[in-house]
Symmetry: C2
Subunit: 220 residues, 2 copies
């Protein structure tokens, strides 16, 4: 898929692309409305397909499962922007690692603010079946792995910057701390999601994330 000559990226997404987006939206809308009315567990893929005017087979061309359809297409499936990574790694030993992780989360965890209607529906449905939030976390395993590796790199760099020659930081210990740190950051993100799903008013994820990470600091 080559880019158009037009410097403005995706100025014209093309009919194919637009149709695809429309179908995806139709599916999500269908599953969300049905879930809101009957509860997700009482909704079948056949139901969804019927309402979205597609074949059940097509449904699975778009989503792995009805749960995926509720959660929407997985953003952040791919890796992080380079400049963000660079900033995180070179922040130096003075800056708390968790602050860096918060900044990363701020970028990746903010989803499609474009479609308000879907957004609200999704929130309503997730509010009534919180187990979906856990699924959301589960689907981020790859991200979590990336994150852990990143934190390990950062911690190694920090350690080298501060250590006296003889004090080689134990790599195993470092990896350990890195994975714990990543997990704690994920916990903060999950906390934010939980607040988002519960709150009646629509606080934005950036706000919630910032708050969760701030609270984190007061915990220990």
């Amino acid at each position: 898929m080559t880019d158009t000559i037009n410097p403005v990226a995706a100025a014209e997404p093309g009919l194919r692309e637009r149709k695809r987006k429309a179908t995806s939206r139709a599916i999500q809308f269908a599953v969300l409305e049905l879930s809101r009315d009957k509860g997700l567990e009482n909704v079948t893929v056949d139901d969804i397909s019927r309402r979205a005017d597609i074949s059940p087979r097509t449904f699975f061309n778009y989503f792995d499962s009805k749960e995926s359809a509720v959660l929407g297409e997985s953003h952040l499936a791919s890796s992080l922007p380079d400049d963000l990574v660079e900033a995180f790694l070179s922040a130096g030993p003075e800056t708390p690692v968790l602050d860096g992780l918060r900044d990363i989360m701020l970028v990746v965890a903010v989803p499609d603010t474009d479609d308000f209607e879907l957004h609200q529906l999704r929130k309503e449905v997730i509010h009534h079946s919180p187990h979906l939030l856990i699924q959301r976390i589960s689907r981020m395993r790859v991200f979590e792995t990336e994150l852990t590796a990143l934190v390990e790199k950062r911690m190694t760099a920090d350690a080298l910057a501060t250590a006296r020659p003889n004090e080689t930081p134990d790599q195993a210990t470092l990896r350990d701390r890195a994975s714990l740190t990543a997990l704690v950051a994920m916990a903060a993100m999950r906390h934010s999601w939980g607040c988002w799903a519960e709150s009646a008013e629509s606080l934005s994820m950036p706000v919630l994330l910032t708050r969760s990470f701030r609270e984190l600091r007061t915990l220990i």
Copy 2:
């Protein structure tokens, strides 16, 4: 099901009980060996049942899914021992909440040390499909909820003990902090599980848990 007159509880579990245990073990053994050899995704319930010499229907009398069978019967499905809860709630504002949570985890997260062979097999299999660890966490949603409520109670008590009359602690904020704290504790537990599954040597969960919680304190 009334207790026997024998003061020694379950001195004789009865044939029925023993058979049930044996079947459960046979199932777990079957799924674990098959998973080790072929990978869990290539194992069907039929395979498991055949090897365990039961009908496929019986399998579902014991476990919800093959994943459940790999993870073993869910301990901590029910609620926490009363004395433990009491100790946690009344520890007072001086004791860190996370210390209390660690103590709770120490009790609930330590599984069946009785069956070494299963234990080792399980570790081997989980090591090769880490997504199971996330499932394990997912199945603890009820526990997580209990824990959150518990932390909220504790924090309320602590707040009342230290606050001056006019300073009514905001209940919403408290709930917020409570859920974040619970999530962080869960993160620590997950970290311990991760270490357990990865480590070649068999460090015990209590040791790992203690270490994870100690590291937690150095993070922020």
